[in-house]
Amino acid sequence: MLHLVTAIIKPHRLDEVRDALKGSGVEGLTITEVRGFGRQSGHTETYRGAEYTVDFVPKIKLEIVTETEEAERIADVLATAARTGAIGDGKIWITPVDRVMRIRTGEVGADAI
């Protein structure tokens, strides 16, 4: 059984998170550049004298497909590495995955991770 660990983190934590994940056995992951906001929402800035609101803050989204038994542990490792204690640290969630295949070889299931 497979699950997907998705995380939104601060961009500058990526190196630490990657190192921590590799150290705990994760062999592959995907990142996307995203923008978003949480409860704290944005703040106001000025551009050429006019005010504007910065709502969407740059973040990195990570996606890791992993065996169900490992998902919780990996999420914990990730959270620890990504945490700074300041607002905007991000979120992690875990969702089930129906099917995984390795494109090159055609392997499915846990062999495809």
Binding site: K10, P11, H12, R13, L14, D15, E16, R18, E33, R35, E45, T46, Y47, Y52, V54, F56, P58, I60, A86
Partner: protein, 488 residues
């Protein structure tokens, strides 16, 4: 009939002494002016030609500001690009105002005796007592000089990129153009002790400013970068330097080309006249720059396995910086050697500052301008091809003995010492009062929004990341690059 063409230097020195005693020389009065000891007739067409050419040269040098801005932006990260652009804009503008108000007067004004050998004080805001040279009007001469002052100032912004409080940088750029740089100019081009050969075996020679402009900028850059400390993530926990990739190589390369073209104003323009010498100067400039790019490319190719683009660009600049002192005094062949050596030196120097001294210089400014500036100036003592009386003595390699070489070394050390002391005081003061470096959070987020209120690339552009497989905040690459000694 105009006498047999003399080497430009001889004419220049006589004119310098005659014109430099605090009189405002207006070109059209040159024949009847106070400098009545002149023997040559002054052709009005020549006068206008001189002024047009030098103004054009000044404009070329001012355009180098765009070159510096692009090189620095290209070799640093996108999240602070607006800040680096602002620093480049403002160091020109603050510098120009400072130089107009006071710097020019310090560099060129007043008597050359006694304390005047070190510091002038006449011609504030180009008023009475403003100096000019040869056939040039005061405004044209000033334009050329202010372009040079701005060049010295802007060198530093690259070394201090991505972590300097803008307010502190603003103050720095005012002070260097107001005082630190003009004093150095005074010592040589302003007719001071280096030009007079005081305490030297012979007069010091730096035609277009390898030491006066570039080394001054490079040494100030060193002390600024040192006072700041390295960028976050530049050095890993093991103390090893990590590559922090620049975000736009096309910018960096375009910047190098703009600098090259600008150098054709910088070097030939330093003749301060439209005469036969400017062609040869342009040739040595070209030879050194081209050779510098090639040798830098080969050096990094050998050391790291691939021809690093940014490093080749640094090599071009290193060659140009290196030839700037001797551009009128050496042969094209010697220029190839000087430029070629500068290209090798710059690669080694970048590595030295990065890995040995651990002073983080994102664009290699210290190596290109500081180290190669000193090197190029000293090379005059080796490669000057003949004696030109009152200007330079034949170099060691041509059988002229070591007088010029010794003079060059002493001059370089003196200028370096002056810039070191003043920079340490300046950056130390800035650090103590209000701080020099931004906060950690700001540095990680990028300086654009925090320092200036808006991102460099606009809201929806998604450029806070430099691209796939490269480092984001901390500097360690996600994919190991094949050239560990990066150009930044």
């Amino acid at each position: 009939m105009h006498p047999e063409p003399q080497p430009p230097a001889r004419r220049r020195r006589r004119r310098q002494i005659l014109a430099g005693i605090g009189t405002t020389a207006i070109a059209t009065l040159a024949m009847a002016g106070p400098a009545a000891a002149q023997v040559e007739e002054v052709d009005p067409v020549q006068v206008n030609l001189d002024n047009v050419w030098i103004l054009l040269a000044a404009v070329l040098v001012i355009f180098m500001q765009a070159g510096f801005a692009l090189v620095e932006a290209g070799l640093t990260r996108a999240k602070s690009v607006a800040n680096i652009m602002m620093k480049n804009l403002i160091d020109f503008c603050a510098g120009a105002v400072a130089f107009l108000a006071l710097g020019f007067a310090i560099a060129y004004g007043g008597s050359l005796d006694g304390f005047g050998k070190f510091l002038g004080a006449d011609g504030f805001f180009l008023g009475d007592g403003a100096f000019t040279y040869g056939n040039l009007t005061v405004p044209v001469f000033f334009m050329f000089q202010v372009a040079f002052a701005a060049t010295a100032a802007t060198i530093v912004s690259g070394a201090m990129a991505e972590r300097t409080k803008f307010r502190a940088y603003l103050i720095y750029s005012f002070v260097i153009s107001l005082f630190i740089y003009p004093v150095v100019v005074r010592w040589q081009w302003g007719g001071g002790w280096l030009f007079q050969g005081e305490w030297l075996p012979t007069a010091y020679h730096d035609f277009a400013g390898s030491s006066i402009v570039h080394m001054v900028g490079g040494i100030a850059a060193f002390w600024g970068a040192k006072a700041l400390g390295p960028r976050l993530g530049k050095y890993g926990p093991d103390g090893k330097a990590r590559a922090i990739l620049g975000h736009n190589i096309p910018f960096a390369m375009l910047g190098c080309f703009i600098l090259l073209v600008g150098w054709y104003g910088f070097n030939p323009g330093s003749e301060l006249a439209a005469d036969a010498a400017i062609g040869g100067i342009a040739v040595t400039t070209t030879a050194a720059g081209a050779m510098g790019a090639l040798t830098a490319m080969f050096t990094v190719w050998l050391r790291s396995g691939k021809p690093d683009v940014g490093m080749a660009g640094n090599g071009l600049l290193a060659g140009l910086v290196g030839i700037t002192a001797g551009t009128a005094a050496v042969t094209p062949q010697a220029a190839l050697i000087i430029g070629g050596l500068a290209g090798i030196i710059v690669v080694l120097a970048v590595s030295f500052f990065d890995n040995v001294l651990k002073v983080d210089d994102p664009v290699g400014a210290i190596s290109v301008h500081g180290v190669c500036g000193a090197f190029g100036t000293i090379c005059v003592g080796l490669f000057a091809r003949d004696d030109v009386e009152g200007f330079w003595q034949q170099g060691l390699f041509y059988g002229g003995g070591s007088d010029q070489l010794v003079a060059q070394i002493i001059g370089v050390l003196a200028i370096a010492a002056w810039v070191t002391v003043t920079s340490i005081i300046l950056f130390g003061t800035l650090k103590a009062f209000g701080g020099l470096r931004v906060s950690e959070e700001e540095e990680l987020a990028g300086l654009d929004v925090e320092e200036h209120g808006s991102p460099g690339y606009g809201e929806g552009f998604g450029s806070f990341l430099p691209g796939p497989g490269v480092s984001l905040g901390n500097g360690a690459p996600a994919v190991r690059p094949s050239t560990p000694v990066g150009s930044s």
